[in-house]
Amino acid sequence: MASIDTGGSDSGKKKGRGVKKAKKLTTRIDMTPMVDLGFLLITFFIFTTTMSTPTTMDLNMPKDTQKQDEQTQVAQSGALTIMLGKDNQVYYYEGELKSDGSNFKQTTFKGIRDVIINKKQSVINSYVPSPDDEAIIQKAKAKGDPNWQNAAKDKNFTVIIKPDADATYKNTVDILDEMTINNVKRFAMIPITDSELQLIKATEASGK
């Protein structure tokens, strides 16, 4: 099999009247080793390389500061606090947490998007124009935002993200992703408080 075919054994035989016929060689080569080599290289490349280039998500954190005047103030009316618990559970409340915990609600990663959209819409609906907004509008216009006229309407909308110790890294990335998806301009990641932790624990216990 693995040999160059030199044609028939009689190809070099003299054929009548002393006419010497040129030796006819076929050009057929056994290709098996070449195929072997080709597939060997394919296998090598499949195993040693990666297909997808990873993407990156930019994350900018604020500097920790103790000074009161450097800290960002959040209007309670536009605040949405999202807490991440274990087993991909999401808890949230709007504005300030009531002492009896009556506005503390539970949802999942599927449901949180609607919560964010609804809250954003209600902040936009209750928008009251103020003279400071001109700067925000001009800034959005300069950045090329197609919706720049409305840039100031959701300025009070702030999402506060508080993952607890049982939340995974995936949960954290997912919720940050949700901020990008819903175009939330202001969000912050801060440590969870004890009263919130207790409410999460209580909800987890009652759910079982």
Binding site: R28, I42, P54, T56, L59, L84, L176, D177
Partner: protein, 223 residues
């Protein structure tokens, strides 16, 4: 009984198309893929809608695996900057009194990732670089103030001497949030506030604001 003579057929057949296909696939894989960087552990990154591609530049890569172990990798854009490795390990050696000898410090250049406490660094650097991946590394000790990772970042920043460094954080889906928070703390304590989280691409859910924005940007480009 008359014997029936079965004509003997040759088992040879033309393999040329087969070769063509094999090399076509080979060419595709060579062009469409790129080599995997050496990885300390298997990490499944979470997906995000972010479309920013990862740039190749000087970077510190901090990996978190599913057991919350933290690894530290220095990636240099140019191979001519190998001296940076030496500066980092010399600084760590001096600050932490590790008594590393020259051969151990030279091995640091070939060490692709670090996942040991300072106390075990000598043992790691004594291991030839091709055997290091078989070593079970416990991860860099972390605490709520950043742990030993803080010192690695500090040493790297001083070695890079003002050059731009990207901080890449590559976490596994199942890494716990406190680990991530501790990594952030280590970076914050070095006054570094901008990070890149490595994620795998994901489609934007239809109907959302970002989806509309991207669609608008696409149709804008077509015009």
């Amino acid at each position: 009984m008359p014997s029936v003579k079965i004509p003997r057929k040759s088992t040879d057949f033309d393999m040329t198309p087969f070769v063509d296909v094999a090399f076509l696939i080979l060419t595709f894989f060579m062009l469409a893929t790129k080599f995997k960087p050496p990885e300390p552990v298997d990490i499944t990154t979470p997906s995000s809608v972010s479309a920013d591609m990862l740039d190749e530049k000087d970077a510190l890569l901090i990996s978190m695996d599913k057991d919350n172990r933290v690894f530290f990798t220095i990636t240099l854009q140019s191979t001519e900057d190998q001296g940076i490795y030496d500066e980092i390990i010399q600084k760590i050696n001096k600050d932490k009194n590790l008594n590393l000898n020259n051969a151990e410090m030279a091995n640091f250049r070939k060490t692709s990732f670090i996942g040991v406490p300072f106390s075990q660094l000598k043992a790691l650097l004594n291991t030839p670089s091709d055997q290091q991946k078989d070593l079970k590394q416990p991860g860099i000790p972390m605490d709520t103030t950043g742990g030993e990772l803080t010192y690695w970042i500090q040493a790297s920043i001083s070695a890079f001497a003002g050059r731009q460094i990207a901080y890449l954080i590559k976490g596994d889906d199942n890494a716990k949030f406190p680990t991530f928070e501790n990594v952030i703390q280590a970076l914050k304590r070095n006054d570094q506030l901008k990070y890149n989280l490595i994620t795998s691409p994901e489609a934007v859910p239809a109907g959302t604001e970002l989806y509309k924005q991207r669609q608008a940007a696409l149709s804008g480009n077509k015009k």
